[in-house]
Amino acid sequence: MRQQPVLEVRGIRKEFPGVVALDGVDFRLFPGEVHALMGENGAGKSTLIKVLTGVYQSDGGEVELAGEQVRVTGPLQAQQIGISTVYQEVNLCPNLSVAENIFIGREPRRFGLIDWSAMRRRAAELVRGIDLDIDVNAPLNSYSIAVQQLVAIVRAVDVSAKVLILDEPTSSLDRDEVRQLFTVMRRLRDQGVAILFVSHFLDQIYEICDRMTVLRNGRLEGEYLTSELNQVELVSRMIGSELAGLDQLGGGKRRERTAPTGKAFLQADRLTRRGAVEPYDLDIRPGEVVGLAGLLGSGRTEAARLLFGADQNDGGTVRIEGEVAALRTPRDAIARGIAFCSENRKTEGLVGELTVRENIVLALQAARGWTRPLSRTAQDAYALKWIRALDIRPGNPEALVRNLSGGNQQKVLLARWLITDPKLLILDEPTRGIDIGAKAEIQKLVANLAEDGMAVLFISAELEEVLRLSHRVGVLRDHRMVAQLDNDGALTPERIMATIASGAHA
């Protein structure tokens, strides 16, 4: 019933040292369709795209383009055979004009010299062809990322793309810009271009895509018509095995929690940042653990970063202990008693080349100012106290942090913040990539800190973990806080998942 696929991939395999990133994945793309590639982080989506665009060489399997077997050897060659990719970060030259960006490398020439008027005319035609009203003589960087992406698409298609791969093109676009992009995508689809669309936004997938391929753990989970797979089923296919395999440590017992009442330590009111998170409200009381759940890229981290002043909000206010607080930088937030353990403990938090002691006292020293150095004795005392309190191993304050295991590094990062005695502790994926024992210890620690009156914002991809610790769970989807569910004992991972999938208040 269907025509030949324009792109067919069979049994593709890609290994990295110690990891099989793609394990015999099949994939088909038909002309004139928008196809979604779905999967959680690490499922192999980006590896597959990189194999298709020649950034990686596959270790097995074959690729067929328009019925002919091809070897994709590099991004340039991929373009030449008709596979073009537009990335989230636009790969054009911001300093050149729109027209030049479309035509550079293949400029129209007259008498051996570049024919600028022909170039402008043709660029203007192409741009008008997708209903884009821009001045093609203006430099590319005078336009928004959305427009720049459309220009990249114009270039890709004009260079003759049979297959257009759009890798997370909508991550930094607002609603109207997404609509504009979709209009262009539909038009190209109707012209017979095969479009592979990758996005974290389920609504967008369901709006634009005809079919989808779901990957999980480097394997093909299945290929579905969008109309035949509802969002709840899709989510469970994406994360299903993880849910089944959730660890049941601590007997899975959830503490009986009565949410602390009283005045909120922090109140966010319609807090927002364009392209990162839409306006949300959030109250956190002393002694309360508020969890944030949602798929990767749903805006969990972005929401938290606003509370720490790591990003600037575009709108809304934060009140701390009832007072409006302008959190312009992390320094402001730290001064108000807020601490933030970031999810990238290696790149954003710890200094691997320094010792445990030096890492632990770093924030405290920063808070005191560099003109008042902590004495070595004081440093040793602090380091030893927290090594003991958090059971950091090895218990040697002079060990280099980079030699510690992930769990112990996480504890060092926690110690660094706890030493400053914060009133609100924001934890972004504190247990990711650490072993089960350390995970349990960190969870216990968080629970104890809350019992002692600290307010905690706990972000995790593991729903069980969020449920075990939180009094309340904020659910994010597509950069929107869609619900705040009380963890009253009846709340289950399935219900949170249903909320993530449907976006409705469950």
């Binding site: 790969n91 054009l92 001045d135």
Partner: protein, 323 residues
Amino acid sequence: MNAHALLTRLRGQIPLLVTAVLLVSMFSIGSVQYEGFFSGQVVLNLLIDNAFLLVVAVGMTFVILTGGIDLSVGAVVALSTMVSAWLVEEHGWSPFLVIPLVLLMGTAGGWVMGWIIHVFEIQPFIVTLAGMFLARGLCYTISVESISITDPTYTSMAQTRIPLGDLFVSPSALIALLVVAAGFVVLHYTKLGRNVYALGGSEQSALLMGLPVQRTKTTVYAISGFCSALGGVLLTFYMLSGYGLHAVGLELDAIAAVVIGGTLLTGGSGYLLGTLLGVLVLGLIQTVISFQGTLSSWWTRIVIGALLFVFIVLQRLITARRR
């Protein structure tokens, strides 16, 4: 047209406009202050006295537009004067053989540096620094003394004055203007020129768009090498000697002229016309100070230093606003 886009386009021109305004106001102030300053010949003398700097600065503009830098230019100028004087005076070679040879030598030297920069992914700063030491050192293997040139071709090039009405220019000044014109055509009307801008905008993107990044890079350094050698030839016309201490610090004057001319050191934005204005500004500072009469010539350096500070801060403000 979108007003925002128009504004962004204008913003790219701000450094150039500032330089033009600066040049005009410096000239006006000089004219009001000093008798005999307000004359066409003063302007033409700027070109005559700075012809070699202008040629070198054209090459430097190409390099800086790609986001690179070429520190070897002054030394290559010196080496070119030295090789010319030595071959012509001590070996009796014909200038018509020596000049093409010197130009070829400079071009080849630049090409090799560009190749090293690209293939080994080394900072242009350090590669051309090595080139600078090498060229400067080679001068002294020929002679540690200055070699004066008495060849009639050279002396006539030094003395010829081409009349322009009541005024006159030197052949060197015309050659320099020709180089500016050629550079302008290459930068704006050839693929090579546009690739230079693309490379300065984003090397990564240029690569992904399938542009010949390596060829462009080696070519700009070859162009800079050619311009340096030609600058050296013009300097022999001007000084009538070859000397290892000629053009000491010329690379910095060239960079200063390019920056004052509005080309961003980060690459990708700037105009050759700006470089011409930049060279004229540097020359004018010198002229004003010599007209003034009591200030030591070191004031030239002080003023250039102050101007550079102003211009790099201006550049920073413009690029920061763009982001």
